[in-house]
């Protein structure tokens, strides 16, 4: 589940947004204040993995009344989407300003074991399938190669006057993910999607871990 997955990533030294799980209207307001506005609300349910499809994500909330309304809507849509879903609450997450998005993930192959993937987020991954892979464990050199191997890697160097992204921070996350799945062979799949990469630092905004 997303929240647990991020807790694990945090334990491995990967930055994640401030967030908490609310199970009541009082809590949703309290956590919103703690993580700082604006916030994102998302359903916390092991049965609903593609939350946007379920209408269970609401972005960019800063006012109490909007937050409460969104809280109710997320719960309602989720129940409609899957009436039998095990609902643990609603994730309240600080909404980070939009940044260059990348995806860092892991899959497990029968012959080679874990493989790490890197790609730029959005259409680069979904339409162009512009991604690179390496067998885990990887070394720093491999991570740099993975980044330079994708066709769209220049996007990270700052195009059209944008500031260059912190490639070193991405390499750091890739090495930490490699370490994590090496420690836990039972990890079947992992997605950090998106990872926001800034001028300085990178944050795993969403995380998914699938265990055997």
């Amino acid at each position: 589940m997303e929240h647990e997955a991020k807790e694990i990533m945090k334990a491995y030294g990967i930055k994640v947004p401030k967030e908490g799980i609310a199970t009541s209207e009082e809590e949703v307001l309290k956590i919103s204040r703690q993580v700082e506005y604006p916030v994102v609300l998302k359903i916390a349910s092991p049965d609903i993995q593609h939350k946007t499809d379920a209408g269970a994500v609401v972005l960019n909330l800063s006012k109490a009344e909007d937050i409460l309304e969104a809280y109710r809507r997320v719960l309602e849509n989720s129940k409609k989407f899957d009436p039998t879903a095990d609902i643990r609450g609603v994730i309240v997450q600080h909404m980070m300003p939009k940044q260059r998005e990348v995806i860092i993930g892991v899959s497990r192959d029968n012959q080679f074991g874990h493989v790490l993937m890197f790609g730029l987020g959005g259409i680069f991954v979904e339409v162009l399938k512009d991604v690179s892979f390496r067998i885990v464990p990887i070394e720093e050199e491999d991570a740099y190669e993975m980044i330079s191997e994708i066709r769209s890697h220049q996007m990270l160097c700052g195009v059209r006057g944008e500031k260059p992204s912190d490639v070193g921070a991405l390499v750091d996350i890739m090495l930490k993910v490699s370490k994590f799945v090496s420690d836990f062979p039972e990890v079947k799949e992992l997605d950090l999607n998106p990872v926001f990469v800034c001028e300085k630092g990178a944050v795993a905004v969403d995380a998914l871990i699938v265990i055997d």
Binding site: S107, Q111, R134, C157
Partner: protein, 469 residues
């Protein structure tokens, strides 16, 4: 590390299922070994008393002396019994040519073989394979008749093939292409000896300087990568992997899972273990025959010397397509050549000696390029058909090659009249290619291996370097 030397250099071989019935597998194996293998040969056959003039034994246990290696070529249901006997006899390695195991679903029958192998500590190649062809020791278990196949000349290329039929074809094809082979191994169902073991063995094989692999699927990927990483620093490894187009789509709940196709994973594994991937079998041996020479560039700059402008440009394009860099000739080189060459010669890279170039102009050009520090390797384009370039210019090229510490690749093609001169260049130790694209792949392989060896320092892609904070 396992010693597999007894497979390649045994002093005695028993052929279980040997036969003098022309056309049978047992006949062809016996015939090839009888003709080429200088060691002791023991035919084993339950019925016949004399095969190829040699006394035949009912069982390997009846052979009076020790046996290093056995070849089993009998029907699958009887293989485990004779393997047991090989174990008792103390045979070190067995090549099981017979098919009829896991490839047709007979998994238990195959498991039995592995059990016996463990019990006696006997190593197995196969089953369901054509075994070993060793051009130096004369071991040849390939049951193809010399009436229908030519075997290649001696060389330094080792070829490991998951497919027996393809291994057979490659032997015949390399003989036609004048490519030298050290050994070929077909390992079939690889219940015991696999790619990783063979790669490890070849590290110590004095005859092999390049390893070519034909792979359909690897079972223990990590073990394979470890072996390849160890070996590829010293001996270049090239791989042809089929099944490129096979859909990798899997039921996956993550983005990563849905994108992690089989081929892209092999691609990554090859990169990480410094294996150069070939696009097809021609490409595999094009690269191998350049690497086989054992001379590697010290700079990644490639120089092109030509008497045909068009071919020079095409070669420059092909190099760039392979991610290679044209050498920046030093001012010294340019000045020196400018002084010696007529004005119409283009003194840059590619260096166009133009259509009236003679062997003297090639000599001056080559010597200057050999001295230029940024030039790591030279592609020499020889359009031998032009009037000013005498056919004995190949002697000039070969003389320079002898003193050159930089790899030289020849791009030359021709018909019946030119071909003998191209062959002469090959026999003098140069790799010759008929097209710019194929010559460029050879250059790619040389530069790539030089990077792996540490002779060329590879810098991180510039763009990313700039981004790095």
């Amino acid at each position: 590390m396992a010693d597999l030397n007894f497979f390649f250099n045994p002093s005695s071989i028993a052929v279980i299922g040997a036969s003098d019935t022309v056309g049978s597998v047992g006949y062809e194996i016996m015939k090839n070994l009888h003709e080429d293998f200088p060691g002791e040969l023991y035919p084993i056959n339950i019925k016949q008393k004399l095969i190829f003039g040699k006394p035949s034994y009912k069982s390997i246990l009846d052979v009076p002396s020790k046996v290093d290696m056995a070849v089993i070529a009998i029907a699958a249901p009887f293989v485990s019994d004779v393997l047991e006997e090989c174990g008792k006899k103390g045979v070190k390695g067995v090549i099981i040519v017979s098919g009829g195991f896991s490839e047709i679903g007979e998994k238990e029958r195959e498991a039995k073989l592995l059990e016996i192998s463990k019990k006696y500590g006997i190593r197995i190649i196969g089953p369901n394979c054509i075994g070993i062809y060793d051009n130096f020791s004369g071991v040849n278990t390939i049951f193809l008749s010399k009436d229908k196949i030519s075997f290649p000349k001696k060389g330094k290329i080792s070829f490991l093939s998951q497919s027996g039929a393809f291994a057979g074809l490659i032997l015949d094809w390399t003989s036609k292409e004048r490519i030298g082979i050290s050994n070929v191994v077909s390992y079939g169902n690889k219940i015991d000896v696999n790619e990783a073991d063979l790669i490890d063995y070849l590290y110590y094989d004095e005859n092999s300087k390049v390893i070519c692999l034909y792979i359909e699927g690897i079972r223990r990927g990590q073990k394979f990568m470890e072996a390849a990483k160890r070996v590829s620093k010293k001996i270049p490894i090239l791989a042809l992997k089929s099944g490129k187009t096979k859909s990798g789509a899997k039921a996956a709940s993550s983005h990563t899972g849905s994108l992690a196709g089989e081929d892209i994973i092999y691609d990554s594994a090859f990169k990480q273990s410094h294996i150069i991937r070939a696009n097809n079998f021609e490409d595999l041996f094009d690269m191998a025959k350049a690497l086989e020479k054992g001379i590697f560039p010290k700079s990644d700059g490639v120089a092109i010397l030509t008497n045909a402008g068009g071919l020079g440009v095409m070669t420059a394009d092909a190099l760039e397509m392979n991610g290679l860099r044209l050498a920046n000739l030093s001012e010294d080189t340019i000045k020196k050549l400018r002084d010696q060459f007529p004005e119409r010669v283009v003194v840059s890279n590619p260096m166009d000696l133009v259509g009236d170039a003679d062997k003297g102009r090639y000599e001056v050009g080559l010597n200057a390029l050999l001295e230029d520090k940024d030039v790591g390797l030279i592609i020499v384009i020889l359009l031998l058909q032009v009037p000013t370039l005498s056919l004995d210019s190949v002697d000039t090229i070969l003389r320079i090659k002898k003193i050159s510490d930089k790899p030289m690749i020849i791009l030359g093609a021709g018909g019946e009249i030119i071909t003998p001169y191209l062959i002469k260049l090959e026999e003098g130790g140069l790799a010759v290619y008929p097209s710019p694209e194929r010559a460029a792949r050879a250059a790619y392989a040389l530069v790539n291996h030089a990077i792996v060896r540490g002779d060329i320092h590879r810098e991180r892609k510039e763009n990313i370097g700039v981004c790095k904070i």
